[in-house]
Amino acid sequence: MAEPLLSVRDLVVEFPTRKGVLRAIDKVSFDIAEGEVLGMVGESGAGKSITGTAIIGLIEPPGRIAGGEIWLKGKRIDNIAPEAMRRVRGRRIGMVFQDPLTSLNPLYTVAQQLIETIRSHLDVSEKEARARAVALLDRVGIPAAARRIDDYPHHFSGGMRQRVVIALALCAEPELVIADEPTTALDVSVQAQIIDVLKEICAERGAAVMLITHDMGVIAETADRVAVLYAGRLAEIGPVRDVIQKAEHPYTQGLMGSIPTLAQESDRLVQIPGSMPRLNAIPEGCAFNPRCEHAFERCFRERPDPLDRGTGRRVACWLYDRVGAGA
């Protein structure tokens, strides 16, 4: 296999608090290949967003990356100088945040924000930057882009603003775009459009996408592979089709069972009993053990590391470590 675009190795993110150190991310490892779309799912607080923020080096102090490595095309980026990291942000890794209403500075026009970003990273003239900005706005689907580029953010609707945010994330031609719940704050009717725009434009430019969401439907349609996070740990990762059709980790199984389908004639959706543990109360062994119906003695004693299950799948569950015994 070729060298991955992004490689996260045993990432640990900690937040010191008065009650002790909280581990928001605990030894998470995954790769993203060039041009690939990796979905990242999990409940609120599972560490999806923090993983994205850690990759671009913007964890708010006193939080910090306490262990592990992040590699971008064979170069470590988690321990480089702030100025070098600034050049990575925007230029090599773009980011789209959840709420387009608050992502844009209200006091600057869209043109000012785009041109500023382009010229921070690329050596182009003001005029050239503006031409690129207009072309990009047109591409993300802003009508009359040449005229509307001089409008302020408050002149745009939520969906249009998220298109502007996508343009901003892509304007310096990054190789990877981290989209942190890009549609959660939007109207249902425009969610699909935004995902389509993001997917198409990244495919055109060969940019990989790390799509953070809790919408399994979006993942199923968009992603090549999917990573499932639970309590700051990687539960399962693999090709999206395999994971959805044959989920192996009991948590993923529960997650899939909770998606409503029209074909199914069941009265009730499956729900996972209990709730995700708080970060300061993660049980010994497997973090999922209090809610898992298959849990056995080893699950309470030892923490499972993701086991290689072939065809690019890894599952962190002791069920698959028993010799001769499957699921």
Binding site: I56, L58, P82, R86, R87, V88, R89, G90, R91, G94, M95, F97, D99, T102, S103, L104, N105, P106, L107, Y108, T109, E116, T117, S120, H121, P143, R148, D151, Y152, H154, H155, F156, S157, M160, V165, L168, A169, A172
Partner: protein
């Protein structure tokens, strides 16, 4: 936009009328002006004639109207104490006060914003903590005490700066005499300007710090960092500009109170400005001067408020009326 300005101007006129009413009432309720104008041997008939000649027997509204009409033309009558036209007196004293207020306003704004931004960006630094602690003193010490302390340290002990007066002044134009163009004038300005501006500076600093911390937490600042903008662009281009919106209001209003509060500083430093003139006038119940001073301060406040509102429009595009395409 034009409608807004007209509306604000209309409101300003109402405010001025209300202040004029208060000023005018001074004449009626702070003693009998005739008594302070005539000698003891004036007969009752002569007094009545004078009263009639001055229009003091006219109905209230007529008198008020003629007061407003004359005030609008800059005529506030003759000072009881100095027997000079009030307007002339005030105009001769105004440059001293305006120069002092302007310099201390600039001092308060520059250092207030500078310290505020610094302490917001370097929240945990020892220097920030030191500045914040010292600023507490600035907020809690009364102006006259700061003035006296500064005089003691810099004028009496160190003998570096003059302790009173305006130094040498030179005329600029017809009635403006400035102290800014002479060495002794500038030296004399330092202590009073710091005294007058210190409180405002700490206020602006604390406001800038609080606003800046608030802005630095917003999504658009996080997004600006995620776009790979330099710290400089994020902190000063994006964060500071958003911080300035509320700061402008407070600073503008503070400028008004700097002029109004200059009374105390002018007294401490024997600064020959309108504040000192006002204090004298109060001692001698010189009603025309007091009334004119009141009107002047009100006018300054009203004008500053108007300018602040217009500045809002310049800084914040959301307040501008959209060019008819806010539909998407």
């Amino acid at each position: 936009m034009l409608a807004f300005i007209i509306r604000r101007l209309f409101q300003s006129v109402i405010v001025m009328l209300a202040v004029a009413l208060v000023s005018f009432s001074l004449f009626r309720f702070v003693g009998d002006p005739i008594a302070s104008m005539v000698g003891q041997e004036t007969t009752l008939a002569e007094r009545a004639a004078l009263r009639d000649a001055l229009g003091l027997n006219d109905p209230f509204l007529v008198q008020f109207w003629s007061f407003v009409a004359r005030a609008a033309q800059g005529d506030f009558g003759i000072s009881y104490r100095l027997q000079q036209p009030v307007m002339e007196l005030i105009l001769s004293r105004l440059p001293a006060t305006l120069e002092l207020a302007m310099i201390s306003g600039i001092f308060a704004f520059l250092f207030g914003v500078g310290f505020g931004v610094y302490t917001a960006l370097k929240r945990r630094g020892w220097l920030s903590n030191a500045i914040m602690t010292v600023s507490l003193i600035g907020v809690s010490l009364p102006t006259f005490l700061i003035g006296v302390l500064l005089i003691w340290v810099f004028a009496v002990e160190l003998q570096m700066l003059p302790s009173f007066g305006r130094g040498d002044v030179v005329p600029v134009g017809d009635w403006w005499r400035t102290g800014l163009l002479t060495q002794s004038g500038r030296m004399s300005l330092i202590l009073p300007a710091i005294t007058l501006g210190l409180y405002q500076m700490t206020l602006i600093m604390r406001l800038v710090r609080a606003e800046m911390l608030e802005v630095l937490r917003t999504d658009y600042i996080k997004f600006a960092r995620a776009r790979g903008l330099t710290n400089r662009a994020v902190n000063f281009g994006h964060a500071l500009k958003n911080t300035m919106v509320p700061v402008i209001t407070i600073t503008g209003l503070q400028l008004g109170s700097i002029i109004a509060f200059s009374i105390i500083t002018e007294t401490v430093f024997q600064w020959p400005g309108v504040g000192a003139l006002f204090i004298r006038s109060v001692q001698f119940v010189d009603v025309p001067v007091m009334a004119a001073y009141l009107m002047l301060i009100a006018l300054i406040f009203v004008v500053i408020n108007l300018i602040v509102d217009l500045l809002y429009y310049a800084v914040d595009p959301r307040l501008r009326v959209s060019r008819s395409h806010a539909r998407h």
